[in-house]
């Protein structure tokens, strides 16, 4: 049924079309904007669900791949006599695999939930929803793109709507937060661009002997880079004395630089200590639906980037850096957890808890085995769902109380039993209770890393204990205890607020009880990387 239409492009472009439509709608009709945004967020959700259902691990993403040349810039200076053409190719190349599909699904689920949660947005709906949809396209693009330049463009595309969504619709210190967001992520983008350019200029080089001479091309295509770096006969891997051109050689030093740059670029996004302070402000100042997207999906772009480019393209460097990565992960876990224990603002507890949970993802990546790598992706998806749910609750709560200071709240289980129940469930998921998704991600990451670095894992596991401390301290602070008089009459969640909460909770339970719905396809995604790592270990 859907075989003949470009599904991936549809997913990518549906929100963009929605954004244009929202801009065309009359300004006064708030509900039209909302419905349009919702409809054009649901379309990708339906399509990703269909992809998820029809995805075959045997064939992988091949049946859905869309690939054609997007930009071909001829470089016509001084062509040598043997050279017939010299091009810089940028491709429009979309594909999926077992790693990106779970994240794609996460994006579509969180987007829809955040679109519903945007019901509390009170000003300038039109602009809000247009930016919101634009942000969605950016996110889909990041997870779909298989060309470095295309990826970079989508990665940047998410920054612009985020900047405005924080700066215009956020809380009191919103502009400062937006600026901080841009400064940090701008830095990250610069590092990423530099790393990509290094890779394209070396490993992106191919020369093909044609009838009228050699056709030379520089390509940003992920597949070309992957093949060239893995192939010992590619120019990038040849000694300069053989090719006579030092510029093409992707030396070990250069690889190392590229890896470090990518680590910084995606480390800011994840975020890795000490690059985390910008996201604290986003967590506290951005409107809750935007934080749902931010904490739920945008942080995972960092994880995805790190795995897709740093790990897959430069597996040797990943191995060299794996201990450092694990140390950084442990620092993230403990630093975030200890700080989450002393925060008075619930949103900051959640922000630091994200720092801690993303540390677990780093441990999974550092493990270099299939258990840990799957754990990293699983933890990303799980954390995305859990933090989306938590910020959904924060939004609902703030709407009624006007505060999320833990000291000012208390006893809300009395007046809001449903919301409190969901909050407690989300908290339990966050502290890794078995039966909920958080446990699987954490467990696999720890299990994986334990196979290679026992001591670091044992230290990192302490984060699980601290998670119990900060989650219970904050969640019980809000819902348990005597209820202050001013909160006795507040109403529980409305239907429109309850629906996304139930949906997210159901998914968290589903992933906690039946993890194999996701792990089977993830396995296929990591096969290539694991082979490379094993080959190195063997040779």
């Amino acid at each position: 049924m859907l075989e003949n239409i470009p599904v991936l492009s549809c997913i990518l472009l549906a929100p963009l079309v929605g954004a244009l439509l929202v801009l065309l709608l009359p300004k006064q009709q708030g509900s039209w904007h909302r419905v349009t945004a919702l409809v054009f967020s649901v379309i990708p959700l339906v399509l990703t669900l269909w992809l998820f259902a029809s995805y075959q691990t045997a064939t992988g993403g091949a049946p859905y791949t869309e690939h054609f040349t997007w930009l071909s810039i001829p470089l016509s200076r001084d062509l040598g006599q043997d050279i017939s053409s010299m091009l810089v190719n940028f491709d429009y190349h979309l594909s999926i695999d077992g790693i990106s599909l779970p994240l794609l699904l996460l994006t579509s689920v969180v987007s829809v939930m955040a679109a519903i949660a945007s019901v509390h947005v009170r000003k300038r709906w039109k602009m809000y929803y247009a930016l919101f949809l634009l942000l969605e396209t950016g996110m889909y693009g990041v997870f779909l793109a298989r060309d470095l330049v295309l990826f970079f463009i989508f990665f940047e595309l998410t920054l612009i709507p985020m900047f405005f969504l924080i700066g215009v619709w956020g809380y009191f210190a919103r502009e400062k937060a937006a600026n901080r967001f841009l400064v940090y992520n701008g830095l990250g983008s610069a590092a990423m661009l530099l790393a990509f350019l290094i890779l394209i200029a070396t490993a992106g080089f191919t020369a093909v002997q044609g009838t009228d001479g050699v056709q030379i091309a520089y390509s940003g295509s992920y597949d070309v880079l992957l093949n060239n770096i893995a192939d010992p006969n590619a120019y990038a891997n040849m000694d300069p004395s053989q090719t006579g051109d030092a510029g093409l050689h992707l030396s070990e030093g250069l690889k190392n630089w590229a890896f470090v740059l990518l680590l910084i670029a995606f480390g800011i996004k994840i975020p890795i200590f000490p690059f985390h302070t910008w996201m604290l402000r986003v967590h506290t100042e951005a409107p809750p639906p935007v934080v749902m997207i931010h904490s739920g999906v945008l942080l995972k772009m960092g994880v995805y980037g790190l795995i897709r480019f740093a790990a897959f393209l430069l597996p040797a460097q990943l191995e060299d850096w794996s201990t450092t990565l694990a140390v950084l992960g442990v620092i993230n876990i403990l630093y975030g957890a200890v700080l989450a224990c002393v925060q008075k603002e619930f949103k900051l507890v959640l922000a630091y808890s994200s720092v801690s949970h993303m540390g677990i993802v780093l441990l999974g990546i550092a493990s270099l085995n299939e258990i840990g790598l799957q754990g990293a992706i699983y933890q990303s998806v799980s954390h995305g769902l859990i933090s989306a749910l938590l910020f959904l609750i924060v939004g609902t709560l703030y709407e009624r109380t006007g505060t999320t200071q833990i000291d000012e709240l208390g006893g809300l289980a009395k007046s809001m039993p449903f919301l409190s129940g969901i909050l407690l469930t989300a908290g339990m998921a966050s502290l890794g209770l078995p039966g909920l998704s958080g446990f699987v991600g954490e467990f696999l990451s720890f299990l994986g890393l334990f196979g290679s670095m026992k001591w670091l894992t044992a230290i990192g596991v302490l984060g699980v204990l601290l998670a119990a401390v900060y989650v219970l301290r904050s969640v019980l602070g809000i819902t348990f205890g005597p209820i202050p008089d001013r909160w006795t009459d507040i109403k529980d969640a409305r239907f429109v607020e309850a629906v996304p909460m139930i949906a997210l909770t159901a998914l968290i339970v589903l992933l906690g009880v039946f993890p194999s719905v996701m792990t089977d396809m993830m396995q296929q995604g990591f096969n290539g990387l694991l082979e490379q790592i094993q080959q190195r270990a063997g040779g």
Binding site: L197, I200, V338, L339, E370, L476, F480, P515, L530
Partner: protein, 620 residues
Amino acid sequence: MTFAQYAWLVPLFPVAAFAVLITLGRGAGRQAAWIGTLASLVSLILSLCIAGERLSGTVDEYNAHFTWLQIGNYSLNAGFDVTNLTSLMLVVVTLVSFLVNLYSHGYMRDDERITTFFAYVALFTASMLGLVLSDNLLTLYIFWELVGVCSFLLVGFWFQKPEAKAAAKKAFIVTRIGDLGLLIALLLLFWYMPGNALDFSSIHNVFTTEAGVIAGGITTLIALLIFLGAVGKSGQFPLHVWLPDAMEGPTPISALIHAATMVAAGVFLVARTFVIFQASDAAMTTVAVIGGFTAIFAATIGLAQNDIKRILAYSTVSQLGYMMLALGVGSVSAAMFHLFTHAFFKALLFLGAGSVIHAVHTQDIREMGGVGRNMKITAWTFGIGALALSGIPPFAGFWSKDAILTAALTHQPLLFWVGAVTAFLTALYMARLFFMVFAGNPRGEAHAHESPAIMTLPLIVLAVLAVVAGFVETPFNGWFGEWVTGEKPEAHTSAMVIVVSVAVSLLGVYLGWLIYAKGTVRRDIVSSRIPGLVKVLENKYYIDELYRFILVKPLGGLGKALAVFDEYVVDGVVRMAGQSAAGLGRLNARLQSGQLQGYALTALIGLVIIALAIAGRRFW
């Protein structure tokens, strides 16, 4: 067809009841709570069928499992085992759960969240049943954590009380310290076991027939880490601090936690992984010493408490110490036997205490007295429970305590004497409790009245069990131990043990009677002479204060220090970098027109230039 094949249904009924009750929510009304009770009854019947089948000895042990998660060549399984040990536990858990269910219809009838209460109880029961049935350590760990969270929910059931909130939080966090140990033990086993197997039968094979596959140091480490988990769950020193505070939960829950679920899990875990302990002398000694120490340590605290439930709580800690002691000296059968009898008489004591609290509306035994006159059934049944706990023959506790002391005498004579002194202390504090509550004249204001039949019926059933349950294994008939462990127990008839344990128990009861009923010995006989000792006991050896001082405060201090560091150093560096960049920006500002298109164009041109520069580098 065998009943064992359907053992998975035993936890499933309560799970279904939980799902229904939690969905119905508060609006469902009191009658809906019977769904939970019905589910526990069905589970009980099925468990009895399974146990009956095991007793008949005609069917083999049954195992069924499936792959929960497959990652490359590694697979993580889930499954269940039906053995004599598990079928025994099934019966104990479902029976106590069913009786607690019945009782709660009376005890909780005026609570507006009664359906939520029954939902939690159902989930609690189901988790414990799942734990008992698990055929591998990972499945067990999953249910282990669920048991913990259910206990947390029920301890904090009266969430508006600040004490309940604090107690729930404490219960969860303290037991989680132990859970970490179990988790790391799980990780160790996974990577050290041949074939990454985690199931108990493989563990059994590796540690018995293939000894040496896992190095001795690692074996000890694994055993100690598993034991850490058991210490947390079973309230052993030094992680016992959560258990007395857990008394903030409704009393039926205390009965459930202290008898059949939660605290029993720790002992069960050690029994289930016993081969690992046997492979390490150091681990066995640790278990025995911690168990013995906890037994006597908690008994001394129990002497000085005035809250009826706290006295019982410390007695649980102490009795669990006995069970650990038994395991540490190598006798799984004695430990499981005591677990079995203790489940009945401790459930009885807690439900009896609940009946009293229900009547007099206080938990302070100094405000009670003479309650027995108006509450005959409660008084009689409580008395039976107290005698069973004190180890007076022929009540159940006597036989199981005797088995433990005999085992201790054979392997660790010193610990035998610790156990004997503990038996004396136990009899003393139970006599104190009983006489202060039921004998003498009323000291409080409320007039006691007997509880309704739905509450006294479970008391009577449990009282009967507290009398007869001990006869499954006597020094003259060692049937139970062999059935549970599959090994012929050592000949363990020792006249000395019987004489000593009966003597110290009777002495304790007699002394208690002299002090608290007859009044021949003055109550302040100790406190007037050594006031410091009583103060230390009343304050539970200041262990809570110690934790606050060495763990909670430093963590808070570290957090605050890091918060300052995060704000001013980590963020500050970036702020400074940002400011210098801003200075550069002002210089640049002249070049900028302020129009978005202009910026975009500049950016694009820049990008193209960089791309071309790098791509064309070799030709320039």
